[in-house]
């Protein structure tokens, strides 16, 4: 059994669906807009630990390819860990982000058919203008921006959903969203994206 863990901060996701990705609100049951589900995800851990191992200040990314509705599995997943992560932190983050340490991403452990591996790389997760930038040099060039809202703070939000990653999300779009690695070369510019608070704990 994995040690008790918590991570909190921010998350973003950019995928190949039309805005807004039907996989989120159907909890993985819907057919993705283009039939297949391609995405990259970014995480900024502001606070966190796994047992005695501290995780604050570390960023995480992942690449995910699913051949149909998410809940049907057969996922191919590759992980990017902050190059500043020491071996115990890298191990704990690998357990968490492959679902083996339970919590909100726990169901991934049943969905992942092919694990591409873990790369230790420099990762940046930053606010930029109205949106958020996620960068892994030579791998991810991501900038997502909120869809303009009708009024108020200008954001369109999904509120109180049962989506596992975050109940509240800012409906966004890939202003520039490219990922090239592990034999994939994807461009999600103009497609669905989301930003939310990261607040996960397990097991």
């Amino acid at each position: 059994m994995a040690a008790a863990w918590t991570i909190s901060g921010e998350l973003m996701l950019s995928c190949n669906c039309e805005v807004y990705c039907p996989c989120v609100l159907s909890l993985g049951k819907a057919r993705p807009s283009q039939g297949v589900c391609y995405s990259w995800w970014g995480f900024r851990i502001a606070e966190g630990h796994a047992g005695p191992t501290r995780l604050e200040g570390l960023n995480v990314g992942l690449i995910l390819e699913v051949p149909g509705p998410m809940e049907q599995g057969n996922w191919t997943l590759g992980l990017y860990l902050d190059e500043r992560a020491r071996p115990p932190a890298a191990e704990a983050l690998t357990e968490i982000f492959t679902g083996r340490a339970g919590g909100p991403p726990g169901w991934w452990s049943m969905m992942i058919a092919t694990f591409l591996g873990t790369r230790l790389v420099p990762i940046k997760f930053e606010a930029e203008g109205r949106g958020w930038r996620f960068t892994i040099p030579k791998i991810v060039d991501g900038l997502i921006e909120p869809v303009p809202g009708a009024r108020g703070d200008g954001l369109v939000r999904i509120v109180n959903s049962r989506y596992f990653a975050a109940a509240d999300l800012v409906v966004s779009t890939g202003a520039r969203s490219r990922i090239r690695d592990w034999g994939r070369n994807w461009d999600f510019t103009g497609k669905s994206a989301e930003y939310g608070r990261l607040d996960w704990a397990g097991p």
Binding site: V19, P22, V147, G149, R151, V156, S161, A167, V171
Partner: protein, 204 residues
């Protein structure tokens, strides 16, 4: 035609179309919808409304639209059904509103309609339950939508602050089931994009 008088209406608006939730066209007419043709409906219950001095309280309407998958291309076909309890004067006003002749958000939508089927006056049964909204026109349509569950079961799951011509900016996310067929148009859905909001319209 008579000049348009000042008017306003508020009530419940719900919709169901053949896309998965969330319909890409609902976010932007520039996006491509899920099907080869985009077919959806709006079901309307006016709780309170006035057109000049004419009262519109309690009247129902149902509008079906068929469009190309990228809705902004226009070329929509639309049919309007009005509550047979409406007087001739009320029917004339409702038709003016929904066909965009009385201004407001409906005027923008009307600009995309290329083919308009004749408006029909029919008996309709509108049901405004808590999580469930439904409308029936015997021999033409049976539709019901149900709010999806929220993470907090005591509250609805919402789409907040989205721009829309006829819905309120905050809408309750739902899934819908519809069987509709009339004059060559048809819509059959089960568990697809649906939502509802408490609208507030005004014109001209």
């Amino acid at each position: 035609m008579e000049p348009t008088e000042r008017w306003w209406a508020r009530g419940l608006l719900f919709e169901n179309c053949n896309c998965r939730l969330l319909c890409p066209g609902h976010v932007s007419f520039k996006q491509r919808c899920d099907g080869e043709r985009c077919v959806g409906h709006w079901a309307i219950h006016v709780e309170e409304g006035r057109y000049g001095t004419l009262d519109l309280d309690g009247l129902n309407a149902f509008i079906i639209t068929e469009a190309p998958p990228v809705m902004i291309a226009g070329g929509w076909t639309q049919a309007i059904y009005l509550d047979e309890r409406a007087t001739q004067a009320q029917r004339d006003v409702l038709e003016r509103i929904f066909t965009g002749q009385a201004g407001g958000g409906w005027a923008v939508l009307a600009g995309f309609v290329a083919t308009r089927l004749e408006t029909r006056s029919v008996p309709m049964h509108f049901e405004d339950g808590g999580r469930r909204k439904a409308l029936r026109i015997d021999g033409i349509v049976e539709t019901a939508i149900e709010a999806i569950k929220g993470a907090d079961r005591g509250r609805e799951a919402l789409l907040e602050n989205v721009f829309n011509q006829i819905h309120a900016p905050t809408q309750v996310l739902a899934l819908g089931t519809t069987r509709y067929g009339d004059r060559g148009l048809s819509l059959t859905t089960a568990g697809t994009h649906a939502l509802f909001s408490r609208f507030s319209w005004a014109g001209p």
